[in-house]
């Protein structure tokens, strides 16, 4: 499954424009220390965390995308940083729980 496919199927909002990449798995956490320790390259992150460090941490571990849940909106500076780092930044009105369930139904089970 790719980011573009997920964006369409889950009705996600793209906050920036990046190339399509393959998704290897998903992880849900708001603690970025947890993300650094427990995710691997190609994963997507579901989080309500909107601090700019989502971009730094995503770049560090090589995340495929970050989906901001519960309708939260990051500052423009965060969106700009994501663009600079070619990180796909998406948002959803749904909660992390609901979105994780839908990803699981779509077959993303790692």
């Amino acid at each position: 499954m790719t980011i573009y496919q997920l964006t369409e199927k889950l009705n996600l909002k793209s906050l920036n424009k990046t190339d399509d990449v393959e998704v290897t798995g998903a992880f849900a956490s708001d603690l970025l220390s947890d993300v650094v320790g427990n995710t691997s390259a190609g994963n997507i992150l579901l989080s309500v965390q909107v601090h700019k460090n989502i971009v730094a941490v995503a770049s560090l571990v090589g995340l495929a995308a970050v989906i901001i849940t519960s309708g939260r909106t990051p500052d423009q500076s965060v969106i700009d940083a994501a663009q600079e780092n070619e990180l796909s930044l998406l948002s959803s009105e749904e909660s992390t729980f609901m979105l994780a369930g839908k990803l699981y139904e779509l077959g993303l089970r790692d």
Partner: protein, 235 residues
């Protein structure tokens, strides 16, 4: 001079009721401290009392502040040299807490007292909660009021800049990093904290006995807040 820049009073939900500003000041003097800062969670309500209490103790100076919980759930010590500035900032912070009352059965009372330990009122705001203020916004507001921003207990697995943000944010306007008494090897933390950020030690006292269990030493000719700001950058 010996500075203990993080002390909680009875007003903090987790602070011991014995920790009146008067007893805090007396204990600080006993322990040989020169400067103390009162930093209750998300309020500066007892700062006027600590201001009065230290006036009666020669050689002891107080700074005024609050330990704010940011929207990222990071604890941030915000310090000011002027009590009225701290109180106004505390009121601003309080207005950004969740609209929920303190559960006194669970968290206990949050008394605002005077310098003679008389209870003036009970704070019923949800001081244990997180504000909706980002770490960047808090730093901007503090600096515009000539204050200092210290990332609290950065070594802890909860409510610290590292636990919440994974890495030290490269554009954070933080003036210092505080290491808790359980931080262990300082060199490990020094490597994670940008080299231009000074490391301080505070007691994070919630009980009188804890006051001064860790402190920061600065070469200061005078205990005023401006001298502190200047010397802090040299650590």
């Amino acid at each position: 001079m010996r500075l203990d820049l993080q002390i909680h009073s009875c007003l903090s939900p987790c602070g011991n009721l014995e920790c009146s500003p008067k007893k805090i000041a007396l204990t600080a003097k006993e322990k040989g401290l020169d400067i103390i800062a009162l930093t209750d969670h998300n309020t500066a309500g007892n700062c006027p009392a600590i201001c009065e209490a230290v006036k009666k103790i020669p050689g002891l100076t107080a700074y005024y502040g609050t330990e704010v919980t940011s929207s990222e759930e990071i604890h941030i010590i915000c310090l000011f040299g002027i009590v009225d500035t701290a109180v106004a900032f505390g009121n601003f912070v309080k207005s950004h807490l969740p609209d929920r009352k303190n559960d006194t059965e669970y968290f206990g009372d949050q008394p605002i007292v005077d310098a003679e330990e008389n209870i003036i009122s009970f704070e019923n705001a949800f001081l244990v909660g997180s504000t909706d203020l980002s770490i960047d916004l808090i730093a901007e507001k503090v600096h515009s009021n000539d204050g200092i921003v210290i990332a609290s207990h950065v070594d802890r697995a909860i409510s610290s800049i590292f636990s919440q943000l994974g890495l030290w944010p490269d554009d954070a306007k933080i003036d210092a990093a505080d290491l808790s008494i359980n931080s262990g090897d300082e060199a490990k933390w020094r490597a994670l904290i940008p080299k231009e950020i000074p490391i301080v030690r505070t007691s994070d006292a919630h009980f009188l006995d804890d006051i001064g269990r860790q402190f920061t030493t600065l070469e200061m000719k005078s205990p005023d807040f401006e001298s502190f700001k200047k010397e802090l950058t040299k650590l």
